[in-house]
Symmetry: C2
Subunit: 479 residues, 2 copies
Amino acid sequence: MFLDIKLDKETPVYVQIKNYISDMILRGMLRSGEKLPSTRELSSILSISRNTVISAYEFLVDEGFIYMEKGKGAFVSDVKVDIQEKWNMDWSNQINDYARFAEDLDIIKHETKWKKGMISFKSIAPDESLFDVEEFKKAFLNRISIEGEKILNYGYAQGYRALIQYLFKYMSNKGVDTEEKDILITNGFTEGFNLILSSITEKGDKILCENPTHNTAIKIMKLHDLDIIGVPMEDDGVNISKLKDELSKNKFKLSYFIPSYHNPTGVVMSVEKRIELYKALKQYDIPIIEDGFNEELRYSGAHVAPIAALSGRGNGVIYIGSFSKILFPGIRIGWILADRKLIEYLESVKRSKNIHTSSLDQAIFYDYLSGGNFEKYIKKARKVYKEKYEFALRCAEKYIPYKKIFGEGGLHIFLELQELNSRDVLKECYRKGIVFTPGDIFYTDDNGYNTLRLGFSRVNKEDIEKGFKIIGEVIKSKT
Amino acid sequence: MFLDIKLDKETPVYVQIKNYISDMILRGMLRSGEKLPSTRELSSILSISRNTVISAYEFLVDEGFIYMEKGKGAFVSDVKVDIQEKWNMDWSNQINDYARFAEDLDIIKHETKWKKGMISFKSIAPDESLFDVEEFKKAFLNRISIEGEKILNYGYAQGYRALIQYLFKYMSNKGVDTEEKDILITNGFTEGFNLILSSITEKGDKILCENPTHNTAIKIMKLHDLDIIGVPMEDDGVNISKLKDELSKNKFKLSYFIPSYHNPTGVVMSVEKRIELYKALKQYDIPIIEDGFNEELRYSGAHVAPIAALSGRGNGVIYIGSFSKILFPGIRIGWILADRKLIEYLESVKRSKNIHTSSLDQAIFYDYLSGGNFEKYIKKARKVYKEKYEFALRCAEKYIPYKKIFGEGGLHIFLELQELNSRDVLKECYRKGIVFTPGDIFYTDDNGYNTLRLGFSRVNKEDIEKGFKIIGEVIKSKT
C-alpha cells in the first residue's frame, strides 16, 4: 500500500507521508488497531530519511490518528473510528436567504464572461497604465521610514488621522462646510454605502434615487430589503417635478443621488437642479446620500459644487467620496463626510465589521495625496480620458444607430437604442468577440432593456473603433 | 463686513473668500438681492489679487449663492433663500436599533480609557518593535516592480491568487485536507466571522461556544441577534460532557471554538477533546467555526492539529485564519477555508460588502510570506513572547493574590480572583495609573465578574512588574 505514495517536490515529505496515512485511515483503508510499518521499514520502502517518517508519525499521534506502543510500534487509533465516516454537510441547505440573494445579484458570476482575445466594454475601472507608480513607491518608502512599525500595527476604526485631516481640507476646498461634521474612512464607496444603510434603514423602508442608477448601489439597496423608488433622468439631472411628486406620495427614509458624471448616464446635474433637489429633500427632512462618483473627472466647464456644499452648516447631506474610480481602486479607500453624531455611530458599526481599513494603505495614500501628486495625475488622466471620450463619442455617432446618447463625459458611453433588447445585441456581439454591459441592470424598474453601457477606459482606440463598428453592424442586422 | 476675514496660510485664498461669503449668506448676514463689492474693490480691501476674488465669485455663482448682472456686478441669489435656514436633522432619531446596539457594545468607546503615562495591560496587539520592517519593504518593492499597476487596480473578491495558493499549502502543512475546499481572503478575522454569520444564521438562531470567549466574537454574535450558549472552560479545553448536554437539549445552527491559545484563557484544547468535540458536533450536524487565533504562537510542546485537520475530506468545519494577532494587524488580512460551495456564497457576500480586500496588501503579504520571512519572524516572536509570558507569570504569582491562573501562554494572563469584582479593582488601579481588561466582557452569561485579563505584549518588563505589584496591592487592600 505504501508504495503508491507519489512524492511531489513542493510539500515537505513528512507532510505528504502524514496526509497519505491519515487519508487511508479516513477512507477506511487502514483499520483501527492495525499495525503500521516501523519507521525504519517505511523509510527504506520510500528511500527517505527515517527522521522524516518519525516526524510524520509524531504528527499523526498528535492528531489522534495513530498511537504508539512501547517496543511494539505504531497502530491505527480507535478514537478515529467515528471520524472515519466523512462529514458531509449539505451547505446549500445551510445558506440563508440573504447569502442566496447576494449570490443571485452577483453579476460578476452571472453575466456574460469576457474571454481572452475579446474586446470588453464592460469595465469602467481606470486605465492602470496612467498610474504614477513611481510616486506611489516614494510615498510608501517615505511613510514606512517615518512610521513603519506604527502603520503595520492596529490603527483606529475612524481612520488614519493625517488622511482624515487631508480630506477635511479637500472637502472644504470643494465648498463644503466641515463644522460639526466628521469623516470616517471606509473600504471604498461600497463599504461606505453599506455602513450607512445598515445604520439607518430597516427592512421595507423606502429609498428615493435616480433611475437608472449605479448597479452596485441597487444591489446593496436590494440586499438591505429596501423599497427602491427611482425618478427618471433628464439631460441635466433627475426630473425634479417627478421627484417632488414621489416625495408627496411616499414616506421615504433616505435618498441617494449621483450628481456628477452620474453612473450609468454620465449626466452632470445642473446647479439649479441641485438646489431644487436639496430644497425638496430638506423640506421633507429626508437625508441625502450624495455619491461623489468621478466628481474629479469633469473634463470641461466650470466647477460644480457638490450638494453637500449647498447645505452649509446644515447636516442633512451624507457625502460618500472615493478616488478609487480613477486612482488606485486596488487599495480600496473611500470616506464618508457627515454629521458628527452620525459618524460616531458609523464608526462603531465599522469597528464591528472589520476593525478598520488598512493603516498602511491609508498612510501611503495620504503621503501620495499630500505630496501634490493627485493634482498632477488628475490633469493627465482628465486629458487622456477626455480625448478618449470624444473619440468614443465620434465612433458611436458614426457606427451605432442609436436613439439617444446620454451624458457629457465619464469613462463610458450610455446609449439608448430604438426598440431593441440590448441583451439580444449582446448575445450576437459575444459571438463576434465583443462584450458590454446591458443597461437594464442599472434600472430600478423594468425599463432600460434597450440601453447599454460602453466602458472605454481600458480599451485602446483601435479596439474602440473596431468594437463599436461591430456593435453597430449587429444592431443594424436586427432592425 | 469684509474686513474681518482672517486669512490663514493653509487654505487657498479664493476658497476662504468663497466660504466667508457663502457663510454670511447662509447666516442671513447677506440678504437676497444685496450687491457684493466689485472684484476690484474687494481685492483692494483685502490686498489680494483681483483674480483670486474673481475665482471666488465664479465658485459662488456655480454654487448658486450669487448671480452676476452684466455691467452691474454680483448680487446675492434669490434661490438661496430657502437654503439659508439650516437643515437640522436629528440624527439620534434616524439611527436604527442595530447601529445603536453596535455603539453600545463598542467597548473602545465605553471602557476605561488609557491616559498618557499610564501602564496599560489592555492590549494584546503584537509588539511592533519585533516587526521586520526591512523585509516588508523589500516585499513591497519586489511586488511593485513585478506588477505595480496591476495590484493598484481592481482585484478579485475571492482574493489575490498567489496568496490563496500560498495559504492552501500553508493549511495543508497543518494537516488540513484542502480537496473540495476553497479559500476566501477577508479583512481580518472580524470580517470573516461577520461574513459567515451573515450568510448562515437568522435572527434568534442558537450558537454554541466556549464560555468565556473572544469578546469581539461575542459582540458580533450579539449584533447578529443570535442566542449565545456558552460551555464552561476547563484546563484542557471546553467541558465536553456539558457540551454534549447542551447539544442534546438545544437545536443549534452553528458553533464557534478557539482551540489554540483560547482568548481570554490561553488554554490549548487537548487532542482528545478536539476529537470528542469534533465527533459530537458532527453527530448533530452542527457546523464548527474554528478560530485559528494565535495558533502560530505555541511556545512549547508538540504541534497540535487544528480541528479542521481532523475532518479530512469532510466539510463541516469552517476555519478562520489570521496572522494579524502576531504580525502586521494594520494591514487587516485574514482568510476563511471551507467547503467550496460555501466559499462561493461567501465570495458574493464579500463582494457586496466591499468588493475585495486591498490587492496591494495581499500582494505584499504574499511576497513577505513566500520569501520565508514568516518562519524567521515567528521564531523570534515566540522566543520573546515566551520569555515575557514566563516573566509575567512569575510576577503574577509573586504579587497578585489570585484564585486561579488560566492557560499556558499567549500574549496575556487571565486571572480569577477570590470573591472580588475586578471592575472595583480596575477603578482603584486606574487612580494609580494602571488599566487592564475586566474579564466579564468575555463571558456569555453573568459570570466572570471576578476575572481579569492582563495583556503584556506591548509592556516592558519593568512596567509589568510595577503594574502587577500595584494590582496586587489594590486587591490585597480590598480583601
